[in-house]
């Protein structure tokens, strides 16, 4: 598990570097040189398909991108990571969205993994809870209903109230997928927003829940997982478990793509694009 993780982290780090380098090298200079004239000239359409979890980010990006480039239409379909990469392999779209690292056979097919953002999930408990560190095995057992009392983990005799998100939520998707407990969770409460989960955890003694990393505040305790704190640094170093990359895969390097697609990635790597990504609660890869 951990070896795989490290390899994954290394691979993603390398890909990141290449993205950043191409972004700075080709895109950056072009942008400063041509500036506004380039953006007015662009016209046509870009098509993306894939992960449903990336919907919020894609909508935010495409909205502001199209505002900047009125001649460009960005078409995004949310068909799921696998389906998106299949469409990319079939060359029916420009960019395949995946909310996971690409598999080896997908890379062998020519898809290049451009990580545009990292989704981090924090596990939270109420302030009174003495347990602030949980192993990933125990966490999985809590969510599948095998562990039902905090005393089983060495805490006080307090029943665990398992709080989660509704089916279809990207956070739930990610959490269950990374923990490898998809569809096995036994929720006591399914709430339909991040804010509701936060409020519920803060108000309910013995409750546990998961939310996007960026919304954790001091009304709740963000738990360590396997001894690793949930923080941006730990996520970027790859040590924190509950994270996944948001990949916009292309057939071949970005520099080989059409002018439009290059402009799209330039925009994502620009300060404005990064703001849009941060705005939906994601972490910018370094």
């Amino acid at each position: 598990m951990s070896v795989k993780k490290k390899i994954m982290a290394a691979v993603s780090a390398m890909c990141l570097m290449s993205v950043v380098l191409t972004g700075c090298g080709a895109g950056g200079s072009e942008k400063t040189a041509e500036g506004d004239t380039a953006s007015t000239e662009l016209s046509g359409s870009i098509s993306l398909a894939g992960s449903t979890s990336m919907e919020k980010m894609c909508e935010a990006l495409s909205e502001s991108f199209m505002e900047k480039n009125p001649g460009v239409t960005v078409n995004i379909e949310y068909t799921g990571s696998g389906a998106g990469l299949e469409s990319l392999a079939a060359d029916s779209i420009d960019i395949g969205n995946a909310s996971r690292a690409l598999k080896d056979d997908e890379k062998a097919g020519g898809a290049v993994e451009n990580i545009v953002a990292i989704d981090g999930i924090a596990v939270i408990t109420d302030k009174e809870n003495a347990i602030t560190d949980v192993s990933s095995e125990d966490l999985a057992k809590i969510y599948t209903g095998e562990i039902t009392n905090w005393s089983e983990l060495g805490g006080t005799d307090q029943p665990i109230v398992v709080v989660g998100r509704e089916a279809g939520s990207g956070t739930r998707d990610a959490f269950e997928e990374i923990m490898d407990i998809a569809d096995k969770c036994n929720y006591a409460q399914e709430l339909d927003s991040t804010g509701a989960v936060l409020a519920k955890i803060a108000a309910t003694p013995g409750a546990i829940g998961y939310v996007s990393l960026d919304v954790v505040d001091d009304t709740v305790t963000g738990m360590k997982i396997d001894g690793v704190e949930a923080s941006e640094e730990q996520i970027l170093s790859g040590a924190y478990l509950l994270q996944r990359p948001f990949v916009m895969a292309t057939n071949g390097e970005i520099s080989e793509q059409s002018e439009l697609v290059q402009a799209w990635f330039d925009y994502i790597n620009s300060d404005e694009g990064k703001e849009a990504i941060k705005g939906v609660g994601l972490i910018i890869p370094q």
Binding site: G168, S169, A182, Y187
Partner: protein
């Protein structure tokens, strides 16, 4: 003379168009719900959908059983009526038969205010006050039962209590006006025969106002069945059998909570859930018409 006739015609047309607009809206909504709600019925299968009890719309092998959800809606509404209606009828009796002008105004005003409170406020108070109380109760009751899944107080019972309070204003106001509409001759006759005030109220006035009270109850059922926001905040939202201390999900909260990110067949099934809810509301309205008709016939006798 001619001008008046033209104005008359125009007024007639305007009124007619307004009336048609309402009909158009009802027909449009009905048609939309049927068009949007039936494809999933075909795709999942009527039996699997209505009677299946596993709701796993995003699993690799999705299951779309909504029987627990339907049951939760019916149970929640039924229990809320059971708790809310007696209290409401008693309040209405107090308001129409016993209260002096001063106290009557105060209670009546309070009931009107209760009706004006937005459902999200009911939900908020339920979440912050009722749920913690329920959690204490839950811990006491299930102390030695290791198989119980603790819900933190967000359960069926909380939803029922919130609903019971929410339907009260509707039932009270309809009941009060129907009690007030009972002719004083009846009361006088009853009292003249030697009945006490209580006997008069419960044996004469309430039976005479039966159809009005029933109308209130049916309206209350409609309100309880259609409420989404408050339930969403206090009921926990996991799909379970509707037992008092289980976290439950009703037809309305099902749509509210999952519409945001649902896609494909999952989304279509949510429309079907809407269609089921719509069917229930239609049945309630049909009952309402029947009750009113019966009441009108009684009145004319």
């Amino acid at each position: 003379m001619k001008r008046n006739a033209i104005i008359e015609k125009i007024a007639h047309a305007v009124v007619l168009i307004c009336a048609l607009l309402a009909i158009f809206a009802v027909c449009g909504i009905t048609l939309y719900m049927i068009i949007k709600g039936t494809p999933a019925l075909k795709e999942v299968g009527v039996f699997d959908l209505i009677f299946g009890n596993v709701w796993k719309p995003t699993a690799s092998e999705p299951m779309y059983g909504i029987s627990y959800i339907i049951l939760s809606s019916l149970m929640g509404t039924g229990l809320a009526i059971l708790i809310g209606v007696p209290i409401s009828v008693m309040t209405a009796v107090f308001l129409s038969e016993m209260a002096g002008k001063k106290i009557g105004n105060i209670v009546g005003g309070a009931v009107e205010l209760l009706a004006a409170i937005p459902s999200v406020i009911y939900g908020l108070i339920g979440m912050m006050v009722l749920n913690p109380l329920m959690f204490h109760l839950e811990k006491m009751i299930y102390e030695n039962d290791s198989s119980h899944q603790y819900t933190g107080g967000a359960n069926m019972l909380s939803a029922v209590i919130v609903l019971a309070i929410m339907i009260m204003p509707t039932v009270i106001s309809v009941t009060t006006s129907s009690l007030k509409a009972v002719s004083n001759d009846l009361r006088a006759a009853s009292l003249a025969l030697g009945a006490t005030k209580e006997q008069t109220i419960f044996k004469t006035v309430i039976p005479a106002a039966k159809s009005g009270i029933l109308t209130g109850v049916v309206l209350g059922i409609g309100r309880a069945l259609g409420e989404a926001m408050a339930i969403n905040m206090v009921a926990g939202g996991a799909v379970n059998l509707p037992l008092p201390f289980n976290s439950v999900r009703t037809l309305t909260t099902q749509i509210v909570s999952e519409m945001g990110y649902a896609g494909g067949l999952h989304r279509q099934v949510l429309f079907t859930v809407g269609l089921v809810l719509y069917a229930f509301i239609m049945i309630i309205n049909f009952l309402l018409l029947k009750v009113r008709k019966a009441g009108a016939e009684n009145g004319s006798k």
